[in-house]
């Protein structure tokens, strides 16, 4: 009889420990990465590291500005295409498409989510890169990265935006239609504004995914550490920069890669915190309605 109370007590503690582990991992990642990156920050200097334009580890030059620019360009470029496509597709799935179209379009989007990033990279490598090469330049380029990344983040935007459009109370839509609005006016003036925080969150999550993508970007962007001057120029991203060199880096060079990870980590934390706040605000707004 006593033993089951003992089990009850101890299992409570056990699951509590399990639950704290994810926070411990997060903390450990932050601590280890920070510790390993310290030599680089100290010897290179924060400003020279962030705004230096030369990355030549053999000469002790560690400036990551070209990679920051590469990451930002390819992410912003991909979002420029993926936002209209993704929100459009979300509206199609939530409001416009008849049941039968939805039935095969939704699994298609789910499959796009599941396709491994190396497969996107591979198809980009053999299909998109030669295509871009015909326009000019080496083919391995920001443009190729943007196209591949657009395909990769599209499903994130579609599925979260669709959910938030669906979460708008039916009464909103009925009210608008009853006032004589067309279906499109209802979508544009009522449903989209009501679900804007969820849509914004989907975009921000997509941004996080885009900045963190390493392998597919290595495969199609050429990886030159130069600030690109045209979309047809090759470039390297922050995440790609870590993956390209991690296997042979040592000493200060390795520390510099961890410093890149810190920059990436901070960017992601800021981006994700904004997304979390937006999603919470969205669910509050819907509670009030």
């Amino acid at each position: 009889m006593r033993s089951r109370y003992l089990t009850d007590r101890s299992s409570r503690v056990l699951v509590l420990v399990c639950a704290s582990i994810s926070f411990v991992i997060l903390l450990a990642i932050a601590v280890f990465t920070l510790k390993e990156s310290l030599p680089a920050f100290q010897q290179v200097g924060l400003l020279d590291f962030l705004f230096g334009t030369e990355w030549r580890p053999s000469d002790g030059k560690f400036g990551i500005l070209p990679m920051i620019v590469g990451s930002i360009l390819v992410t912003v470029g991909a979002l420029l295409f993926a936002i209209p496509l993704g929100v459009g597709c979300a509206i199609l799935l939530a409001e416009v498409a008849p049941h039968r179209v939805r039935q095969f379009l939704r699994p298609a989007v789910e499959l796009l989510v599941g396709i491994p990033s190396v497969v996107y990279g591979l198809v980009g490598l053999v299909l998109i890169v030669p295509l871009v090469r015909q326009i000019g330049g080496p083919g391995f380029s920001v443009a190729a990265g943007v196209i591949v990344l657009t395909a990769m983040v599209l499903p994130t935007i579609v599925s979260i935006s669709e959910d938030s459009i669906r979460a708008v109370p039916k009464s909103h839509k009925e009210g608008a239609l009853a006032l004589g609005a067309t279906h499109w006016q209802t979508i544009w003036r009522v449903l989209l504004p009501a679900s804007r925080s969820g849509i914004a969150a989907s975009i921000i999550l997509a941004m996080g995914r885009a900045i963190g993508e390493a392998m597919a970007m290595i495969m199609v962007m050429g990886n030159a550490v130069r600030i690109p001057t045209s979309p047809l120029d090759p470039a390297r991203t922050l995440a790609g920069g870590i993956a390209v060199e991690v296997n042979y880096a040592a000493g200060l060079h390795q520390s510099a890669l961890f410093a890149i990870a810190i920059v990436l980590f901070l960017m992601i934390i800021v981006i994700n915190s904004i997304a979390l706040i937006m999603l919470k605000r969205g669910s509050h707004a819907q509670d009030v309605c």
Partner: protein, 283 residues
């Protein structure tokens, strides 16, 4: 007059909306179509059962790669499932609404957004270097378990929360302790939902590359222990595409990957539909 313009705007908008759907579908068709057209002819019994030659040749099949992938997934799940389900039980059944719980939730959500390559670096410092697990299946599995933890916690917690309140009340009224209720009543009822989450994790594990690229070493040989190096299907594809000219072999590996993902997606959909039906239809 205004009415007509509203109608024509609607027409233009709907054309755009259908257009975006067509683009999304054609992206999928192009990827899958191209992959299968070039990769499928390569796939046969010998491709699946011969080992890759490794190095720069790119010749051979994927037998050792399949074994390493399965090995990695088994070890990852052995680490991941107790931790993830335990955490989900705490969050769904025990967690009081206080700051500590909020902290745990925030930690889990942020962890979900940390890029794979950053997990890789972390695994490299902690598991490969500090704990001397070397570049190995064990290091890869530990790193991968960290990466997948938020996904499993979220899905398992949802599954536990979907179990009707009446189940808990009935068990407690019969004199069961809280843990007995959780272990004997709630967990079995939520099992299909939890399995859905696990399959989701397997799907992601199969597709993951960056964090393993830094922790598993990438040897093409047959893994014979937890501490031997290895490469998964995704890593193999990456090596083939970047270091060799064996693009057809890379395509074939991609086909195998996509087939695995399709199967895991179908299983998750089927299971979650059944689970939902059971939880909502008079359980």
């Amino acid at each position: 007059m205004l009415r007509t313009s509203a109608r024509s705007t609607q027409k233009v908008a709907l054309v755009f909306i259908w257009g975006t759907g067509a683009v999304a579908l054609s992206i999928l068709l192009v990827i899958i179509g191209y992959l299968f057209v070039r990769g499928l002819p390569e796939i046969g019994w010998s491709f699946l059962t011969t080992p890759p030659q490794g190095g720069l040749s790119g010749e051979g099949g994927i037998s050792t790669v399949i074994v390493a992938t399965l090995y990695l997934i088994a070890v990852t799940l052995a680490i991941l499932i107790p931790l993830g389900v335990g955490a989900a039980i705490y969050l769904a059944e025990y967690a009081p609404a206080n700051r500590f719980t909020a902290l745990i939730r925030y930690g889990t959500e942020v962890l979900a957004g940390v890029p794979s390559i950053v997990f890789g670096l972390f695994g490299f410092v902690l598991f490969v270097t500090a704990l001397h697990f070397r570049f190995s299946i064990l290091s890869g599995a530990l790193t991968l378990a960290c990466l997948l933890l938020p996904t499993l916690i979220r899905t398992a917690e949802e599954a536990l929360r979907a179990v009707p309140r009446s189940h808990r009340e009935a068990a407690l009224a019969l004199g069961a302790t809280k843990w007995q209720t959780v272990w004997r009543v709630i967990l079995p009822a939520a099992l299909p939902g939890i399995i859905t989450g696990i399959i989701l994790c397997i799907g992601r594990a199969v597709g993951e590359t960056a964090c393993l690229y830094v922790t598993m070493g990438g040897s093409a040989g047959m893994p014979d222990s937890l501490l031997s190096s290895g490469r998964t299907l995704s890593m193999h594809l990456f090596y083939l595409a970047m270091d060799t000219n064996a693009i057809e072999k890379a395509m074939a590996t991609g086909v195998v990957l996509v087939i695995v993902i399709v199967i895991s997606n179908a299983m998750t959909n089927w299971l979650s539909q059944r689970f939902r039906a059971r939880m909502t239809g008079g359980a």
